[in-house]
């Protein structure tokens, strides 16, 4: 539905914008999360955790 799309997209856009503004968040992890958004898999905690693991280096 249109409302869901709009509001959801607004929140997700803001979420990614806020993450981009952080200097303590790894860019590679940000890209991975964007990829998950494109795949519409952001409702899976397993997929997100897997991305966090793959996108987080040893030194953070």
């Amino acid at each position: 539905m249109q409302s869901e799309t709009n509001l959801d997209e607004d929140i997700l856009d803001r979420f990614f914008y806020l993450l981009t503004k952080r200097d303590d968040f790894p860019p590679q992890l940000l890209e991975r999360l964007k990829g998950i958004r494109n795949d519409e898999s952001l409702t899976s905690s397993t997929v997100i955790l897997s991305a966090l693991k793959e996108g987080t280096t040893q030194d953070g």
């Binding site: 869901e4 709009n6 997100i48």
Partner: protein, 860 residues
């Protein structure tokens, strides 16, 4: 693509509607008038049932009341209910057909209508205002359609929780391997992360003592073991003594590990904590105190964070001070809890280490002859099992820990029992065998040193990756927390912005409804800046705020009158409906069920104007039991130029057998004309009676006839005729003179209605054709006298001039005594010239009172 608009709503056997009844929208809005209890809301319940699958007013009541059981007519069953809406051109929805089988546009309409966010009932007006902030958020959820985004947030929360679980597991592994190394090297005094230096230092002390070369790094251990092997090879075959020595060492270490397993501190802490809690009696909710104090301070709130009521006994500053002092007072208790948690975590690491030691000893036992083992293997397996059980018990919440059970378990481990006897017996037998071997003491020392190096190497090799894994797990948890918190922040920001948009509409609509109080700029209105705010400190919670005269940022409930709170509730609903329409542009339905009953006439008129101007593109179903407002709205329809968009309907009465009576007077008149030609006397008189009753009901409203109250307001001809006849004769002589013959005839023959109308009796069946025809003819003439087919309205008293009686369009007009009839065009001019003194030429409350006063004077 044009919006779908309802053409008709058909209902049967649902709520108060028994026989088949239809609301004919014809794609327009409907204004439905009916006294209380005449079935208006039954149509709305049916519409909601069809579109949403439930009836919110029934389903929210609980205690066994639901639309499933109480929705059907009292004399019907659910299967017999029929509800359908038609959109024209074969597009329709009904209870029995699947929505998925409908046209795409109908499916889209039905999807947008799934949540009843377009229906406002009288009882729901204050629901949002009077709710607590958290409940307000829940009431807004259906409008926001946040289900999908909440699933995303839940997924982020789930990822954070899982990463924390994995970090805790990594922490436990590090504790386990660190504990082993500390035990092997007697480093038990040290705490914190174990690095290479203290291990090297302890190992080198042993190597120095044995006259061996020291290590610079732990990765030199294999080389040191190689050198030891070379030296040991000089002693011949050392595999047997090596194996025996390893078993003795391993069993000794197991005994030592088991002995050093110290539950006493943890048990003492549990006991201490419980004693302290008993002294405190009340459990301290330190987080509540801490966060509550933070919330009050940060947001400068004046309500209690728990009950959300105004803090009266203490000022907010005092409350913050007391909350923090209380947290400080309880610090000892908090420290005790923290200490116990830490001790239990450390204990779990030690237990895991003992189990590992037992497993290692079992592996080594396999390498020595069976007769030397002395049942130690089963003893080790037994104790490993019991230790695992102990660990499981210790992971339970603190409140569930049973000190007695834990004490007896640990006593079994520590005291003499079959297990410890078997271990000691095995050590004795193996040591005896080892001593009997021709191996010099030097070889024994070298063997022990090699065993130590081997075990340190193994534990270190496990500790290093565990430490790395822990760092990594903590990094992942940290990122997961950033992601989760950032997402919550994003949702909060967007919803806050959304609330700002909606708040602007709430404030604007409220101002429109009160423009007679505060004309001009709404920024300077006395009730202004009304807004919904997402609470900063509490997730998913909404405050309602506004400015009131010179006081800024107050809760309107504290200052507004009940009527103003009602109009605020209506404003909030309308603002949300506008917002929902922006999200679903093709969904235009709005239902207002008797929502003006609690607001006064001026606000009601403002609401009518607002609805007709601002919501002109909506298809609205408005019900009301307020006849004056009904008439206002009809007048304003014409004035706003939207009369052609409205169907105005009246329910005349309701009976349990049939439901609401929605018949139009013109239908009854046409039928009566047919019957006059060739109808049966009984039928002719019956329809004439019904039309007469209909006419009198209308005139009761328009002439404000003084009629004694009756239960359910089910007035019949007998109740209405005399007041009507008297009123016309006394106050409207021109009308009386024009219809005198009919009125006088009916004054004599009206009892026919009761004899042969709706109430069957044997006497009535025998009425002659001539009598019935005369009665029917008089009723048709009366109808012609009072009803205008052009504007489809009955005549009503006019205010310009007083004493004149006319229909709305002026086609049907009877002048006041001694005056000329003033037609509509002239009347409009008169209103304009009066510059508001007479307002619009309509029957507002004020003008009605003016008219009644004048009437009183005329009577005197």
């Amino acid at each position: 693509m044009a919006d779908l608009r309802i053409q008709r709503l058909d209902v049967r056997n649902y709520r108060g509607i028994s026989l088949s009844r239809s609301l004919l929208f014809d794609g327009k809005s409907i204004l439905l008038f009916g006294e209380n209890g005449t079935g208006k809301s039954s149509f709305i319940d049916a519409l909601e049932k069809l579109l949403t699958g439930g009836v919110s007013t029934l389903d929210a009541r609980g205690q066994g009341i639901s639309s499933q059981t109480y929705g059907p007519h009292i004399r019907s069953r659910l299967e017999a209910c029929e509800i359908a809406i038609s959109f024209g051109e074969s597009a329709s929805l009904d209870l029995k057909s699947a929505v998925s089988a409908s046209a795409h546009t109908v499916q889209e309409y039905a999807q947008a209508a799934r949540q009843p966010v377009y229906i406002l009932r009288r009882g729901q007006i204050l629901a949002f205002i009077e709710s607590q902030p958290r409940d307000r958020y829940d009431l807004l959820r259906p409008y926001l359609s946040l289900q999908e985004i909440e699933r995303v947030e839940t997924a982020f929360g789930g990822a954070l929780n899982q990463s924390q679980v994995e970090a805790d597991a990594a922490k436990s592994l590090v504790a386990q391997h660190s504990g082993e190394l500390r035990r092997f090297l007697d480093l038990r005094g040290t705490t914190g992360e174990l690095s290479e230096d203290p291990i090297l230092e302890a190992l080198n002390a042993r190597l120095r003592f044995a006259g061996r070369s020291e290590l610079h790094r732990l990765d030199q251990i294999p080389k040191s073991i190689g050198l030891l092997n070379e030296d040991l090879s000089k002693f011949g075959d050392i595999s047997k003594p090596a194996a025996l020595s390893a078993v003795v060492t391993a069993l000794g270490e197991f005994e030592e590990a088991l002995r050093s397993l110290d539950l006493s501190q943890a048990l003492a802490s549990i006991s201490n904590l419980r004693n302290r809690e008993m002294i405190e009696v009340q459990v301290i909710y330190e987080r509540v105190l801490q966060e509550g104090a933070d919330w009050i301070e940060r947001e400068k709130r004046t309500e209690c964070p728990l009950c959300e009521q105004e803090m009266k006994r203490f000022s907010p500053d005092e409350v913050i001070k007391r909350a923090r002092a209380r947290v400080e007072e309880k610090k000892e208790l908090l420290d005790l809890r923290q200490q116990l948690t830490s001790q239990l975590n450390s204990l779990l690491g030690s237990i895991a280490s003992v189990i590992r030691t037992a497993e290692r000893a079992r592996t080594l036992l396999d390498k020595i002859p069976q007769q030397l083992r002395q049942g130690a293997e089963s003893a080790l397996a037994n104790i490993a099992l019991r230790l695992n059980n102990l660990a499981t018990d210790l992971r339970k919440p603190i409140a569930q820990l049973n000190i007695g059970t834990l004490e007896s378990t640990i006593a079994e481990f520590k005291g003499e029992n079959e297990v410890t006897s078997a271990i000691r017996r095995t050590i004795g037998v193996v040591q005896k065998e080892l001593d009997s071997l021709p191996s010099p003491a030097v070889a024994q020392t070298l063997l022990e040193l090699r065993e130590l190096l081997t075990r340190v190497k193994a534990s270190w090799e496990e500790l290093v990756p565990s430490q790395s894994a822990l760092i990594r797990a903590e990094n992942i948890t940290s990122q997961a927390r950033i992601v989760h918190n950032t997402f919550q922040q994003a949702r909060k920001e967007i919803i806050s912005e959304l609330f700002e948009d909606i708040s602007d509409d709430v404030d604007r609509l409220y101002h429109e409804l009160h423009v007679h109080h505060d004309s001009g700029d709404r920024r300077h209105a006395t009730h202004r800046n009304l807004r919904l705010e997402l609470r900063e400190a509490v997730q998913r919670s909404v405050n309602l705020r506004g400015d009131f005269y010179e006081v800024a940022d107050v809760d309107p409930r504290g200052y507004y009158s009940d009527a103003h709170l009602d109009t605020l509730g209506i404003s909030i609903f309308l603002a949300l409906r506008l917002w929902y329409r922006r999200q679903h542009p093709s969904f235009n339905l709005m239902v207002l069920d008797d929502v003006v009953s609690s607001v006064d006439s001026r606000h009601a008129v403002q609401l009518a104007q607002l609805l007709l101007k601002e919501f002109a593109s909506f298809q609205i179903l408005i019900t009301t039991h307020d006849r004056i407002w009904f008439e206002h709205l009809r007048d304003i329809q014409a004035r706003c130029g939207v009369a052609q968009n409205f169907v105005n309907k009246t329910i005349y009465k309701w009976t349990i057998d049939e439901g609401p009576d929605l018949r139009e007077p013109t239908d009854e008149e046409s039928r009566l004309r047919e019957l006059l030609a060739d109808g049966q006397p009984y039928e002719m008189a019956s329809v004439a009676g019904r039309l007469l009753e209909h006419i009198l009901q209308e005139m009761r409203y328009s002439l404000r006839l003084p009629v004694p109250a009756k239960p359910g307001e089910l007035y019949e001809i007998g109740d209405l005729w005399s007041p009507f006849y008297r009123e016309i004769k006394r106050n409207f002589p021109r009308l009386y003179s024009e219809g005198q013959s009919i009125l006088d005839a009916l004054d004599i023959s009206w009892p026919l209605r009761n004899w042969i109308g709706a109430h069957f009796n044997r006497w009535a069946v025998n009425v002659s054709r001539d009598v019935a025809k005369e009665f029917a003819h008089a009723v048709v003439k009366l109808f012609e006298l009072l009803y205008c087919p052009n504007c489809r309205r009955f005549v009503a008293p006019s205010t310009t001039p007083l004493g004149q009686i006319a229909c709305r369009c002026g086609d049907k007009i009877y002048a006041a005594l001694g005056k000329e009839a003033i037609p509509l065009s002239v009347r409009t001019e008169l209103v304009t010239k009066s510059a508001g003194a007479l307002k619009e030429a309509k029957l507002s409350t004020d003008l009605h009172i003016e008219w009644k006063k004048s009437e009183g004077k005329r009577e005197r």
